[in-house]
Amino acid sequence: MGPRSGNGAVDGRFWLLQTFNGLSYGALLFLLGSGLSLIFGVMRIVNLAHGAYFLLGGYVALSVIWSTGSWALALPAAALAIAVVGILMERIFLRPLGFDPLRQVLLTVGFAFLFQQGALDIWGGDNMDITPPAALTRSVVVAGLHLPIYRIFMIVLAVVIGVALWLAMEKTRMGAAVRATVDDAQMARGVGIDTSRISMLIFALGSALAALGGVIGGAFLGVYPGLDFQILPIAFAVVIIGGMGSLTGAAIGALVVGLADNFGKALFPEISYFTLYAPMALLLAVKPTGLFGRE
């Protein structure tokens, strides 16, 4: 079931368009995955509520849009609100729990269920879309391809956020402290880094990024109950392929998953998820830390 036509120009266009779609999906996945990756890197927490942050971000944005009419305001509002949720979870429940992957998994999944039901009670069970401003809904024609401006915007936004995060991690004192905590939390504490504050900061950042992803993704994935657990394994694929705790890894992982998902669905629809998760399992077996993970 390849590209349908034997016509070379159409074939070329098919590949270009799928690549573009894959890139823009990857951009969204970067927002979702980078936070999950950082949280794991700093705190060694497998956060199964991360998909819920994504979904809640979308719902909060909808409420903001309904009451103020402003999509631009919805972005920071959703990110802030979910950052607060993340901080509360981290401070009250996860930090006292200590390091035990199984208990963390079950605790975060418990929260994911609570959030899911809460969202259902507040926003109902309908599938809703977040409509971006009219300026972003048009499309431009590049080399004979109709490219939606919204998807271009997604790519630009992810690149801007990615570069900002990278600069913050590599060039600031705070970033150095975060990297030190990822590499060896005990040693970092030993040299006077406040790892508790670092982990709170990273949890807030990670949940805010996921929420941002939820708002951005709400325009073409929709916002609906169940989206949280649908997107969660994909976020894990991003993190695992790139390597947990690495920003560069999350970017590469997001691109790989975004492209693999698009081409998989277009070329071999029947095994498209298999082609995503099987390499992920194999990669984990060969190199458990992912392509760019630190150990």
Binding site: F40, R44, V46, L48, F93, L97, P101, L102, R103, V105, L106, L107, V109, G110, F111, A112, F113, L114, Q116, Q117, L120, D121, F229, L232, P233, F236, A237, I240, P269, E270, I271, S272, Y273, F274, L276, Y277, A278, M280, A281, L282, L284, A285, P288
Partner: protein, 330 residues
């Protein structure tokens, strides 16, 4: 229940089994079916307990084996009309075999990893199975799943929910017995040794990889068996049976009941299914209860429900004469 003798423990479990078998027929059609479903999930939870409780491997992909068993049953029944008569017993064997075979394949990839990485690999492997179930339309019916033509008839008609309950109960009791013997066996003891001190076991000369691998395959076989029963109970299979949350549910059942106790998994399965399927018919906020159970269990009852009697015993023993803690058996 460490304070009870093995004999009394066994008698208690037997008594509870007898009560289940005697009481269930009088509970009405809805509860009978619900108890049957809980028994199927109890088999899955016990298979996971072999990994989690006895070997120390937290798997996030146990639903995969339920899935392959269930889909095998559905595909054989819908495409080849196989498994609707006496051949159902062949399907049972095939289901366990395909579960074991998948686990044998997955184990090669997963067993080397530990801790978080084992969680992640099993999650990825579980998602592979889900992806195939969800997307491989021509084989699995995709999102819609497959509808089975009906339950088998051999001598007696299993279409009757009560007959079917007795059969599933038989499989549950047999699984419990076999797994109980397994954990008591020298092999089971060495699994526990690996859980506690893997490095030491390796130094003692045990092939810990092989032990874990075999445990993984056995757990897969019982997962496959549960899958056959699950598909036949519901008359329907869909990707929903294989999603990540099903695997997570299985983990919660084990932890809620008490990991490393076998029966704990069964109790947890009953509690979760009762919450999810019975409470959901009564109140709209049932999912708060389920989420709350997750959170509260992890925070306040790490030993699970099975640790309650021991805790109460300890608490009662401490009450009258403080300072005689040493008198409490460990």
């Amino acid at each position: 229940m460490a304070f009870l003798s093995t004999r009394r423990k066994l008698l208690t479990v037997l008594a509870i089994l007898v009560i289940v078998v005697v009481v269930t027929p009088h509970t009405g059609p809805f509860l009978t079916l619900l108890i049957t479903r809980a028994l199927v999930f109890a088999i899955l939870a016990m298979s996971l307990d072999i990994l989690l409780g006895f070997t120390g491997l937290a798997s996030l992909g146990q639903a995969a084996y339920l899935g392959v068993g269930a889909y095998l049953t559905a595909i054989l029944a819908t495409r080849y009309q196989f498994g609707l008569g006496w051949s159902f017993w062949a399907v049972i064997v095939l289901g366990a075999l395909i579960g074991a075979a998948s686990a044998a394949l997955f184990g090669l990839i997963a067993i080397r990893a530990t801790g978080v990485y084992f969680l992640m690999i099993t999650l990825a492997l579980g998602q592979c199975v889900w992806g195939l179930a969800y997307r491989w339309n021509s084989l699995t019916g995709g999102d819609n799943g497959l509808n089975l033509p009906g339950r088998p008839t051999f001598g007696v008609a299993m279409a009757s929910d009560l007959n079917w309950f007795y059969l599933v109960f038989g499989f549950f009791a047999a699984s419990l017995g076999i797994l109980y013997l397994l954990v008591l066996s020298p092999f089971g003891r060495s699994l526990e040794g690996i859980r506690e001190q893997e490095v030491r076991m390796r130094i003692l000369g045990y092939n810990t990889w092989l032990h874990k691998y075999i445990a993984f395959v056995i757990a897969g076989a019982f997962g496959g068996l549960a899958g056959v029963l699950w598909a036949t109970t519901n008359g329907h299979v869909s990707p929903e049976d294989v999603v990540l949350t099903t695997s997570v549910d299985a983990l919660l059942m084990v932890v809620l009941g008490g990991s490393g106790t076998l029966v704990g998994g069964a109790i947890g399965a009953a509690a979760v299914l009762l919450l999810r399927e019975y409470l959901s018919t009564l109140v709209p906020w049932w999912q708060y209860a389920l989420g709350g159970v997750y959170v509260l269990t992890i925070l306040y009852l790490p030993g699970g429900l099975m640790s309650i009697p021991a805790r109460m015993h300890q608490w009662r023993a401490r009450e009258p004469r403080t300072g005689t803690l040493a008198a409490v058996p460990p």
